[in-house]
Each structure stands twice: as structure tokens, then as C-alpha cells.
């Protein structure tokens, strides 16, 4: 038992820095804009230091006296993960233009303070999702995460496509939040509890009594799962991904592919802990639902990715496919009869894959940012034609892209291979043989478009690069150390965690620590009596 301040130090650092950034945003000076990025970096790094210390010195879960916030090892791991990848994402969004109004892909103009404030608030939302211990905090944390992302998409570059993407993202986001809230209201209504500890006791009680969840509780859980699917970019709410990822500036796209997705998985895992308790004793219908969701998400994501001509759209739908892979790990959380419990393996597999995906993803989008567009517009490359031959012209970037793409396919010696291995093993141990087979087939299909990206960069001829294209090229030659550093960090991370055993062991150890998730014990016995909604009345 401890108080609010000591649980939420990293979040408070981020939110405090965001408040200062809003004031800095009022200034019109170039110097103030330069300070803004450093301030954001300082906040992320100091929060990261606090969180790493907390992860490796942690013992028991701590919770607030009044409930509503609870920090266990799962939450500590997500903090470290979110902040570490957040630092790389910030490097990709570093303002390297001389007047500090953006970089090769990002053009937020004078809104630099606001942009970084939104960036920090959104990451603070992700961290809060991991420590939420009741429905209200979970809802507020998800909104703290989402609302800044809409604004980031809108101000990321001054073109119509970005604003259209923001509106699309916002409206579908509002729809998904409404569906999720309807699910929350039925969960609250059918259990009478708003805190996860008590709600979990009621849900598990009805599971033990009848062997299944009552109709309304099941309905609530399914609605909430559909709402989370939007955040994860999973079927059935995956279709926005292509448009929104294409419209947003590339660093923001990288942000969207990691932060909301991680939050969706964190919230999903938390919800499954609430429904099934520490041992994930979940009703078979939910297993079937997740099975179908995983299979459809990865297949649809890969098929749609095959059909695209814009590299950002390919990566958008491949990000849908990666959500599907992680859902395989989620489906493997269910204890299977007559087999050893694959649960800790499955959960640490998902957590490992989240980290792996975050790193490779930053690398791919970072390289894309540094390659110039060829039609003379002041932007980075986005289509296959613009990538043609650039791997030979910029050898380092080409190799970085190749490493990250191979890792996204899951070629050995990269972190993506280890990640897929850690998802397939528990799936097989848990008896989900077919799902594992679908995953492997999908990984093979995904090789088609990832290898296409590499092939276009190295094998296709550049075509005629006209004067306009070369002037764009010259503009791109401005040194972008910060962005380059972000790319180098991600490529090194991809190789280091995949090919060097000690480093891989550290990440695995972190993920295993993070798999120690637990649901709080109710303070008071769950409410019963006439107030409780009977199982079959609406």
C-alpha cells in the first residue's frame, strides 16, 4: 500500500513536462522550439531511468489505498518498454530543420511545443493503461492515449491527406470507444463492481458456479474486445490502418504503429486477467473468439498488404498482420487440459514480441524517412517507385532497411525470429496447432512483400531522376543526426537482441518478469444479495 505519487512518478514526469511544453509552444523563437525537443527527450529519459530501476528492483505489486491504480511487474515492464521505444520514436520526430519546424518527413510548422506535449501525453496514457485497476482509470488512460494521437496526425504535415486521416482516425476511434464503453457498462451492470479486484471475484464466482459466463457478462466482454481491436488494429476494426498510416507523416505513423497497439494489447491482457483471474481460466467461447480474431487478423492483414503500392500502406497492413501474430500468443494464454501450463510462456512471448515489433518498426519507418522523395516535393519516399534503386545510392540505409525487413519476416539471427518462436512454442504447447500453422503460412506470405521492398531498393534501376528529383535529393542531404541515431539504435537493437545471446537473454528475462501479472484481491467481499443482477434478466 502506498500513495498516488510514488506509483505514478514516470507519468507525472511526462505530464509535467507536457505542461511546460504547452507554454514553450507559445513562444515564436527558434531557440524555444529547439529546447522543446530536448525537454521532451529529458522527460522520457528520466522517466525511463526511474522505470528501469523499478523493474529490476521490484518485489511485490503496490497499489493505491483507495484502489484504482495498481503497479505489478507487468505494469513495470510495459513502462520500460513504452518509454524505451518512446525515446527512439522521439529521435525519429526530432526537429532537424534549421528553423526547427520539423524534419525530412515531419512538418509541424510552429506547433513544435504542442506536438511534443501531445507525444508525451500519449505515452503517459500508455503507461497509465498498464497500471489501471478500475474501469474509470482504464477508460481515462485510453482516452489520454488516443486524443493526442488524433491531434498529432492532424498537425504532422500541412497537407489535405493528413487532415483527412486525422478526421477518419478520430471518427472511427470515437465509434470504437463507444462500443468499448457499452461493453464497460454491461460489465459494470452485470457485476455491480467498478474495481477490477471485486469485478474479477464476481466474474470468477459465476464461472465456478455454472462453468460459463452469464449472457450479459459475456456480451460485455465481447464488446470490450471489439473496442480494443481498434487500438490493436485487429479485425474487425483494422480497415482504418491503411488510410491513417498513409496520411500521417512517417514518424507519426511509426508512433501509431507502436503506442496505441501496445496499449490495446495491455488493456486486453488486463481484461483477460480480470475475467479469468491470475490463471486465465476463461470460458471456451472467448478462446474461440480470440482464435478466429487471430487467424482473420493475420490473414487479412497480409492479403491487404500484398495489394498495396504505397510502402506506408504495405507497412500499415503488415502491422495489422503483426497484431494477428500477437493474438496467437494471447489465445495461447488459455490453460489446456492435460498439458503443462503454457501461460507464462505465452504471456512473455507476447511481451517480447511487442518489444521486438517496436524496435523493428522504428527501423523501417526511420529508413523510409531518410530516403528522399523523387518527385521534387519536400518530403520523404513513400511509394515503391520512389524507393527504386535507393538502396545502392544510400548503401547504409538500404542495409538497415534490409535488416529490419528480414526481422519483420522472422529470419533467424534477428529479434523478429526469436519473437515468432516465442509465440509459436506456447501455441503448440497449448494445443493450438492449427493456429500455429496459420501463423507460419502467414509469415511466409509476408516474406513476399518485405522482400519486394528490399528487391526494389537494390535491384530495380533508378529510372530517370530529373532536375526536380535531384533538388529534392539535395534538400534531403541536410544532416539529420538525431533521426540517423534513431535508425542506428533500432537496427542495432534488431541484431543485438536477435543474434547476441546475452542481450536476448536480458530481453527475455524482462519479458518473463513482465509476465508476472496478478489481479488484486478484493478489499471487501463482493456485493451480493438482491442488488446483483440475476444472470438471465436483461
Amino acid at each position: 500500500m502506498t500513495d498516488l505519487l510514488s506509483i505514478t512518478i514516470p507519468e507525472l514526469i511526462l505530464v509535467g513536462a507536457a505542461c511546460v511544453l504547452f507554454f514553450l509552444g507559445c513562444s515564436r523563437r527558434t531557440a524555444a522550439r529547439g529546447v522543446a525537443a530536448w525537454l521532451a527527450l529529458g522527460a522520457l529519459l528520466s522517466a525511463l531511468v526511474v522505470s528501469v530501476y523499478a523493474l529490476f528492483s521490484a518485489v511485490a505489486p503496490v497499489e493505491m489505498v483507495s484502489g484504482s491504480l495498481r503497479l505489478d511487474n507487468f505494469g513495470r515492464y510495459i513502462r520500460v518498454l513504452g518509454l524505451a521505444v518512446g525515446v527512439i520514436l522521439l529521435l525519429l520526430a526530432w526537429p532537424t530543420r534549421a528553423d526547427r519546424t520539423g524534419n525530412s518527413a515531419l512538418r509541424f510548422g510552429g506547433d513544435v511545443g504542442e506536438f511534443y506535449a501531445m507525444f508525451l501525453l500519449s505515452i503517459a496514457g500508455l503507461l497509465l493503461v498498464a497500471v489501471a485497476d478500475d474501469l474509470i482509470v482504464l477508460f481515462m488512460a485510453l482516452e489520454l492515449l488516443s486524443i493526442p494521437t488524433y491531434i498529432m496526425v492532424s498537425i504532422s504535415r500541412p497537407i489535405a491527406a493528413a487532415q483527412e486521416a486525422a478526421v477518419k482516425y478520430f471518427f472511427l476511434g470515437a465509434l470504437s470507444i463507444a462500443v468499448m464503453l457499452l461493453g464497460f457498462s454491461y460489465l459494470y451492470g452485470s457485476t455491480g463492481q467498478i474495481r477490477f479486484a471485486e469485478m474479477s471475484a464476481v466474474l470468477r464466482g459465476s464461472m465456478e458456479a455454472t462453468g460459463a459466463l452469464p449472457r450479459w457478462q459475456m456480451f460485455g466482454v465481447i464488446l470490450v474486445l471489439i473496442g480494443f481491436a481498434y487500438k490493436m488494429a485487429a479485425f474487425p476494426l483494422h480497415f482504418y490502418a491503411g488510410d491513417v498510416y498513409e496520411g500521417a507523416a512517417t514518424p507519426v505513423t511509426a508512433f501509431l504503429a507502436f503506442v496505441p497497439k501496445t496499449a490495446g494489447f495491455v488493456a486486453l491482457i488486463r481484461l483477460l486477467t480480470v475475467v479469468g483471474g491470475d490463471h486465465f481460466k476463461l470460458p471456451p467461447q472467448i478462446l474461440t473468439f480470440l482464435w478466429v480474431l487471430a487467424a482473420l487478423t493475420m490473414t487479412i492483414g497480409n492479403v491487404l498488404a500484398l495489394l498495396q503500392n504505397n510502402v506506408k500502406r504495405v507497412l500499415a497492413y503488415s502491422s495489422v498482420a503483426h497484431s494477428g501474430y500477437m493474438l496467437v500468443g494471447i489465445a495461447a494464454l488459455f490453460p489446456h487440459l492435460q498439458r503443462p501450463d503454457p501461460r507464462p510462456l505465452a504471456l512473455s512471448g507476447v511481451l517480447f514480441y511487442l518489444a521486438a515489433y517496436g524496435i523493428m518498426n522504428c527501423g523501417v519507418f526511420g529508413v523510409l524517412m531518410l530516403l528522399p522523395a523523387r518527385d521534387g516535393r519536400d518530403d520523404s519516399a513513400e511509394t515503391f517507385e520512389e524507393l527504386a534503386g535507393q538502396g545502392r545510392r544510400h548503401l547504409g540505409l538500404g542495409l538497415g532497411m534490409a535488416v529490419c525487413c528480414l526481422s519483420l519476416i522472422g529470419i533467424p539471427l534477428t529479434v523478429g525470429f526469436l519473437g515468432k518462436l516465442m509465440l509459436i512454442r506456447p501455441a503448440l504447447a497449448g494445443g493450438l496447432t492449427w493456429l500455429a500453422i496459420i501463423l507460419v503460412i502467414n509469415a511466409a506470405v509476408s516474406a513476399t512483400y518485405y522482400l519486394h521492398i528490399i528487391g526494389v531498393m537494390f535491384l530495380r534501376s533508378e529510372g530517370a531522376v530529373d532536375e526536380q528529383g535531384l533538388s529534392g535529393e539535395a534538400a534531403m542531404r541536410r544532416p539529420q543526426f538525431a533521426v540517423g541515431l534513431g535508425v542506428v539504435l533500432s537496427v542495432i537493437g534488431t541484431l543485438l537482441f536477435g543474434a547476441v545471446p546475452p542481450a536476448a537473454q536480458i530481453l527475455t528475462y524482462g519479458a518473463e518478469l513482465g509476465a508476472e501479472i496478478s489481479c488484486a484481491q478484493p478489499i471487501a467481499p463482493p456485493a451480493t444479495g438482491p442488488g446483483r443482477l440475476a444472470a438471465d434478466s436483461p
Binding site: 482516452e143 487532415q163 478520430f170 471518427f171 451492470g189 467498478i194 443482477l533
Partner: protein
């Protein structure tokens, strides 16, 4: 509050939600789309208040207060985004926006 009364409130909440959902799927005007999402939120709010009253607790009502705050924040954001779009094309019709296919 008896079970019957609760069911009536829940029915109103569900009907509001479905009206909002249908509006969201069928209307083409950005402002009306936004109103539809608000109607869905209010349907959920009625659910929460009814359940809260049913259990004679305050949890649900606290949730509704937070929900209204978020709805207000989203309203200001939505109107801002819509104004930005309107300045570019001088129309609120969703179909006028086809930069991004899909």
C-alpha cells in the same frame, strides 16, 4: 429500483446507442456523424446511471461524470478538425474527401 424499471432504462440506453450507430453508418455530413457518436455516448451514460441507481452506489455516476468530460474534450477536438477540413473544401460532405482511397 426494481428489475422492471432497470430494464426500461436499459432499453432506452440501448435504443439511443443503436440510433447513434445507424446514424454513424448512414449519414454523410461530418457534423451529423459527430452528433451520432455523441448519441451513442449518451446511451452508454444512461446505462451507467441506471445501473448505479440499481446498486444504490455512486461508481456508475462517477464514471458518467468522467465520460461527459471526455465527450466535451472530444467535441472541441472534433469541431476543430472539421473546421480545418471545411476551410480546404468548403463542404461538410464526407464523400468530398477522397485523397486516401479505402
Amino acid at each position: 429500483m426494481s428489475d422492471v424499471v432497470l430494464q426500461q432504462y436499459l432499453a432506452v440506453g440501448a435504443i439511443l446507442f443503436v440510433i447513434g450507430l445507424i446514424g454513424f453508418m448512414t449519414r454523410r455530413n461530418l457534423i451529423v456523424l459527430f452528433l451520432s457518436t455523441e448519441v451513442m455516448f449518451q446511451g452508454v451514460a444512461i446505462n451507467f446511471v441506471a445501473f448505479s441507481r440499481y446498486y444504490a452506489g455512486l461508481d456508475g455516476q462517477v464514471f458518467v461524470i468522467f465520460l461527459l468530460v471526455i465527450a466535451a474534450a472530444e467535441a472541441s477536438l472534433a469541431l476543430g478538425l472539421i473546421v480545418l477540413l471545411f476551410r480546404r473544401r468548403l463542404t461538410l460532405d464526407v464523400d468530398a474527401w477522397r485523397e486516401l482511397k479505402g
